[in-house]
């Protein structure tokens, strides 16, 4: 670890804003929505103070935010945005287009419940709604991870030529002040490198048509290309996290295993609840419990192999989802089942920011909670 790196107390929103300002991207197109706003407010202040050169487009909607990002990124500009909840639902039409044009736009997301009823608090429904559209999705447990993942994001997205979201739980992470270790800006700039794609709208000698009409004879091939590239992200992610460890001393995988060696019972979850689960596991202090945690960090592409490996010998698996899918298996539970080929216990928790206490997690671990809903 670099001893010179200083600690700071920041909210998740400000930490992501700081990471973005240290990277100083070319273009940011953004529309306000709670709980994402601290990110862009922080960034706008940096711009106002002349600390970043980024062109900010204060668009009139999220649909236009993502559309402007597409236009900018297609020119070869390093492009970012941020959103939450309804904002993501509103830009949904253009999200798959960004992926199909192979534009590595980075979007910071403060995850929030989707309407209705309207609710502004932590929930993964927004991320789940965009999970099949060619966006790489990374989840953050805390402020440090939100900061680190934002830096990691550019390296992964630009190598994969796919857009990427860095997710953190709305309010719980986006608005909570935590201590985190900062990385020096020049080190970050060197780490992310220059973005210089070959095919751009700025090539006037060999003009390109972006976003053509692809019919029965070519659409399938275009989609298959995205599929193949997304599969390739797993290796890119491993390399990028290894490189990141060198500059930060922090080792990240696509999953994190906590007290998971020789565990007989395993909880699998994403986001800030993992902190609560770790506390619960620490508080039990009983070797006989033999319970562990798998935290999913890389959600798209899904780390099937790593999870299958990590639950070998585990007798009981409990998967916590922070979103409620209607008329089907819960998303994370279904993914884990697909990975390991056997059923898991699926529990839905924390919808619309509903608090989850350590005691409730202990109840889940000790089998005292026999309900699909942890309310």
């Amino acid at each position: 670890m670099n001893k010179k790196n200083k600690m700071e107390a920041l909210t998740g929103g400000h930490a992501v804003g700081r990471a973005l300002s240290q990277i100083d991207p070319d273009v940011m197109a953004v529309y306000p929505i709670t709980p994402q706003t601290p990110i862009v407010e922080y960034f706008a202040k940096k711009k106002a103070n002349g600390e970043v050169d980024t062109e900010i487009i204060p668009v009139e909607s999220e649909h236009s935010a993502m559309s402007a990002c597409i236009g900018a990124s297609a020119c070869g500009a390093r492009t970012v945005t941020a959103s939450s909840s309804q904002g993501i639902m509103y830009m949904m039409e253009v999200l798959p287009i960004a992926a199909a044009m192979r534009l590595p736009i980075v979007m910071a997301v403060a995850n929030r419940a989707i309407s209705g009823p309207i609710n502004i608090h932590a929930d993964h429904s927004d991320a789940m709604a965009m999970r099949e559209h060619g966006w790489i999705q990374i989840f953050s447990e805390n402020v440090q991870e939100a900061y680190d993942n934002t830096i990691l994001a550019f390296k992964v997205a630009e190598k994969a030529m796919l857009p990427l979201t860095v997710n953190m739980d709305g309010f719980i992470t986006s608005h909570s002040v935590e201590n985190l270790e900062m990385i020096n800006s020049s080190i970050i700039k060197k780490f992310v490198g220059k973005y210089d794609p070959k095919q751009t709208l700025f090539d006037f000698s060999r003009p390109k048509t972006f976003g053509p009409l692809a019919l029965q004879n070519s659409y399938f091939e275009f989609r298959k290309e995205i599929f193949g590239s997304m599969e390739g992200v797993r290796d890119i992610f491993v390399q990028a996290t290894a490189d990141f460890e060198k500059i930060s001393g922090r080792k990240y995988g696509s999953i994190e295993r906590y007290k998971a060696i020789n565990a007989k019972k395993m909880i699998i979850a994403m986001g800030s609840v993992c902190g609560t689960i770790k506390e619960a596991l620490n508080s039990i202090h009983d070797e006989r419990e033999k319970t562990g945690l798998i935290k999913v960090r890389l959600f798209r592409p899904f780390p099937y192999k790593e999870i299958k490996e990590a639950v070998k010998g585990v007798e009981e698996i409990i998967v916590l989802d922070r979103n409620l899918a209607f008329g089907t298996r819960q998303v994370l539970a279904g993914e884990v089942e697909a990975a390991i080929g056997r059923p898991v216990t699926s529990i839905v928790y924390g919808l619309g920011g509903r608090e989850v206490f350590e005691k409730q997690i202990v109840d889940v671990i000790r089998g005292r909670h026999n309900n699909q809903f942890l309310m």
């Binding site: 070319d26 273009v27 197109a29 050169d53 980024t54 062109e55 487009i57 204060p58 668009v59 009139e60 909607s61 649909h63 236009s64 935010a65 559309s67 402007a68 990002c69 597409i70 236009g71 900018a72 990124s73 297609a74 020119c75 070869g76 500009a77 492009t79 039409e93 253009v94 287009i97 044009m101 709208l201 700025f202 090539d203 006037f204 003009p207 390109k208 048509t209 972006f210 976003g211 053509p212 009409l213 692809a214 019919l215 070519s218």
Partner: protein, 302 residues
């Protein structure tokens, strides 16, 4: 390097026989010798000119969705400001092409946002008065009385029962430096306006009359005649709004009834077969007359 307009938008596009959108694209692209980037909205022009692996665009072109062409060009402009100098690409002109659906309706919010933010671009709407790419459904630009698939005439219907939006006034409300109507039937006027638009900094808007052979239901060799008649009957007055000042560019020599324009197209045929034909055209004529009086007053007052 001077590139002529034919090279910028090549032949071989798939638009219907008699459709003027190729003329519109070439007229606009030919009005500047500088580098151009085009953002296209989903619609007739886009689907007939970008069928993979072919393209008619010999300038950089981007299409992403239906309602977001103006937002997309906003991003291009920001990228140009951010990295244009670094990449040494020289001066670039930004153009949006959208149909009336992509302008009056689904594209209105993105258009309004881009106009308000003041991006330096030219928005060109080719207005054929309905969703022609999807087979003639009514739009906010569809004129009164038109028979469309979603406003069909019948025993209890005379086709579309309300007037089209005044998109020029909506655009003018953003206080942009230049907005003008144009018509493929008045090519010289159209060329002058496109050239002028490229000389002005900030957001510019061109609303171009674009007859539709298939859905207006007329023979393909009549496109220009019908386009001319639209302006001669004051159905499509040619005017411009420059820094808030209105100027009517063409006043018909003699008064021709709007009925004569309606008569040329199958989409209005049911009106002529109606027993109240006289009253119907009396009403339509008075709306057209009133609009023209208002326009003349705006010219006088501004």
């Amino acid at each position: 390097m001077k590139i002529n307009s034919k090279q910028k938008f090549s032949s071989g596009h798939m638009a219907c026989a008699g459709c003027p959108i190729g003329i519109i694209a070439r007229t606009v692209l030919g009005a500047t010798d500088e580098q151009i980037i085009v953002s296209g909205a989903t619609g007739c022009l886009e689907v007939t000119s970008t069928v993979y692996p072919n393209t008619n665009w010999n300038v950089p072109y981007i299409h992403s969705a239906f309602g977001n062409a103006a937002a997309t060009i906003s991003g291009v402009e920001a990228a140009y400001k951010a990295i244009g100098k670094k990449k040494k690409i020289g001066r670039v002109r930004l153009v949006v092409f959208a149909g009336d659906g992509g302008t009056y309706d689904i594209g209105l919010q993105a258009l309004s946002g881009a106009l308000e933010r003041g991006h330096d671009f030219l928005f060109v709407c080719y207005d054929n008065g309905a969703y022609m790419n999807t087979g003639n459904q009514r739009s906010g630009a569809t004129p009164l009385g038109a028979d469309t698939e979603t406003t069909p005439f019948g025993d209890r219907s005379l086709g579309k029962n309300i007037s089209r939006k005044n998109i020029m006034e909506i655009v003018a409300g953003h206080n942009i430096p230049y907005a003008a109507t144009a018509n493929v039937g008045f090519l010289n006027d159209f060329q002058i306006k496109a050239k002028k638009a490229f000389e002005i900094k900030g957001p510019k808007f061109l609303l171009v009359f674009s007859p539709c052979v298939n859905q207006w239901k007329y023979p393909p060799d009549q496109t220009i005649n019908i386009a001319k008649l639209a302006t001669e009957t004051n159905f499509w007055p040619l005017y411009e709004i420059e820094k808030g000042k209105y100027k009517i560019n063409y006043l018909p020599q003699k008064r021709i009834k709007v009925e004569d324009f309606y008569k040329t197209q199958g989409r209005f045929k049911h009106l002529f077969n109606n027993e109240n034909k006289k009253e119907i055209f009396g009403d339509i004529q008075s709306i057209i007359d009133e609009e023209m009086i208002k326009l003349k007053k705006k010219e006088e007052c501004s």
